[in-house]
Symmetry: C2
Subunit: 417 residues, 2 copies
Amino acid sequence: MQVDLICIGTELLTGLVENTNAGYISRRLWSRGIPVREQRVVPDSVPAIMKALQESLDSSEAVICVGGLGPTDDDLTREAVSKLLQRPLSLHRQWLQQLERHFAGRGYPMPPGNRKQALVIEGSRLLHNPHGTAPGAIIPAGECWIILLPGPPEEMKPLFEEEVLPFLEAQGFRTGWRTKIIRTAGCGESFLEEKIKQAALPEEVLLSFVARGGEVILQLKARTEEDTAGALLEKAALRLREQIGEYIFGEDEETLAGTVAALFTGQQLTLALAESCSGGLLADTITDIPGSSLFFKGSLVAYSGEAKQRLLGVEAQLLESEGAVSEAVALAMARGARQALDASIGAAITGIAGPDSDSSGSPVGLVYTAVTGPYGENCRRTMLPGTRRAVKERAVQTLLTMLWREVTGGRFSCHLN
Amino acid sequence: MQVDLICIGTELLTGLVENTNAGYISRRLWSRGIPVREQRVVPDSVPAIMKALQESLDSSEAVICVGGLGPTDDDLTREAVSKLLQRPLSLHRQWLQQLERHFAGRGYPMPPGNRKQALVIEGSRLLHNPHGTAPGAIIPAGECWIILLPGPPEEMKPLFEEEVLPFLEAQGFRTGWRTKIIRTAGCGESFLEEKIKQAALPEEVLLSFVARGGEVILQLKARTEEDTAGALLEKAALRLREQIGEYIFGEDEETLAGTVAALFTGQQLTLALAESCSGGLLADTITDIPGSSLFFKGSLVAYSGEAKQRLLGVEAQLLESEGAVSEAVALAMARGARQALDASIGAAITGIAGPDSDSSGSPVGLVYTAVTGPYGENCRRTMLPGTRRAVKERAVQTLLTMLWREVTGGRFSCHLN
């Protein structure tokens, strides 16, 4: 049994809005062993929605439709489903009252357009939406199911997690396909591939690689009897840990910054940063983690040479003789941040993000990352490929990898290829 | 005449990789007046690719297929097209030589798998890919066109811009539909809608609204004779500028940070930041702009009270009496950053990004943004909705809006609803 996903909205087809829902829903379904056959994006048009729905119902056992449930004239998903199934829309009195209360609570009467958000297809189950005015729905359609979800991600996600995933699992959409994601850092793809060849994974487990911004992500897939797939994946993950464990920082939705944060918090360490070419992205990445204030003291984003002197106490003479993008300056920045914020560990990034070089003529992509702490200090020189944004992201990933290794055991060396 | 878009890759359906290509290609096509009928994502499977292609060829005049052109066994797009069209694949000797040179230049022989990247469908035109080993192709298919592009965005984009867009325009896919995007900040959607009603736009121009992270984006669409649509859109944009000009910061792909950067650079102003709850995101946003080092001095990401004292000179007594999330502290932070970095303008953000409140019990989403400069100083108090990340993003947008207004004429007040 498999699922199709139809995202509805002209704004997605014109590219005005990025479609982040398709990736999220697909990833979450696969993680539970529910395969996604196809994703589609169609405009706010009754014939287009009907055609896509009919094609999906011919091939899959469930279709999740996202979007087109708003109050305006171009929200047509309900009408299209009603027409396709030849079942009328009827008023859901409780949801209408809920809508009226919602608007009354804000001090004005319900606009007439919102009334149609209380229309449901006969025989369907309404999914209560606590974050907006568009309810979801689960609609039986012969041997299949049509599931409607609102388009705004903050409304879609809770309904999907709390209602749709459990419903599909209960209906037996879990097929025995199971996936597990293993996340690595500090090791290049081909080096890792060589090492994994020696891991002798169970034959039923398929392995795929994706390199993304300095991480190499491994996806394990197993298709066997329902109750053995999970055990097989655990076995494969264990083999991988034996072979490449030193590069594995997390699984599934875990992030390198989250792993570093947990280690710092657990060991009661504090962190201070000095950022030049990463321009605040490292601090931003760390402060995306709830509770980061427990270990993160702050970052000095010192973009100019003057700022490096004023904020971090880097000596003018050192900047002059070594250049702002150098090992000596990276280490001086890390020491300066550690001292300025009285942290147990100081870390720094300096480099050339591009698109142009600086006055020294250093090549675009040259980045130094430095860490200083109670165990000593370390600096790495790397040449990072890609656009300005890509260099920033990879510089952050490089420094997070150093911090992770520092805190997990003081191993500074990384095998990158 | 319209275009379909098929993205090919199991990694997109499992959600392992975000599909950013679909939005990019759609946006670029629409901007040239080429309508996109549908986007699809299908797995690396010959029958699935063939089925989607056939359905698209039945409805559209061109199909752009992205992905599945790599060297590995699961790259099957070429094979699927060959089978569907019943036209054989033949070896393109020049591209094979190009591939061999590519690998020789890296000091090792071409892996056998890459040979199939030199296979082309008979009668098709090869699109030279300077950034990778997978060439694109334009393939005539009866009355239609099938266009193949590699999946990695950095390879796809140049081929799409330099080869595919001009080709489709030359084939007459430009339909008279033209779009223009107008970007606004500092004004809520419904307030803006009221004002626009008075703008008397030309009847042939359709207007749609999207609110995204503190911006309201207006999309104008016109469908008329080829040569009048552009003029109509310009006329509509002019009417909008007369009515809501004070809220418009840019058009098309322009960003608020880019507009602020251009104003600072043009007026030879410099900027210093102090960030608490935004955690470096504001500095990151500004340093994404090439050349920002011309005006941006740096940011002090002062996450703790201790850091606010040490880095920004905020007095302990003020933090104690007013709390870290207060107008007085926001202004003191802005002044501290301006002084520490000797900048013409200082700006600060302090607030509660959540998910939990701080010890003061201030509500999640409460944010103060402050600006101080030669013309005086100003502070805004806002309640921002959404997740931790959303609060960070909206806080940054709020401060950028203040900076924009400060520099364009010292008007501090914003109409938000």
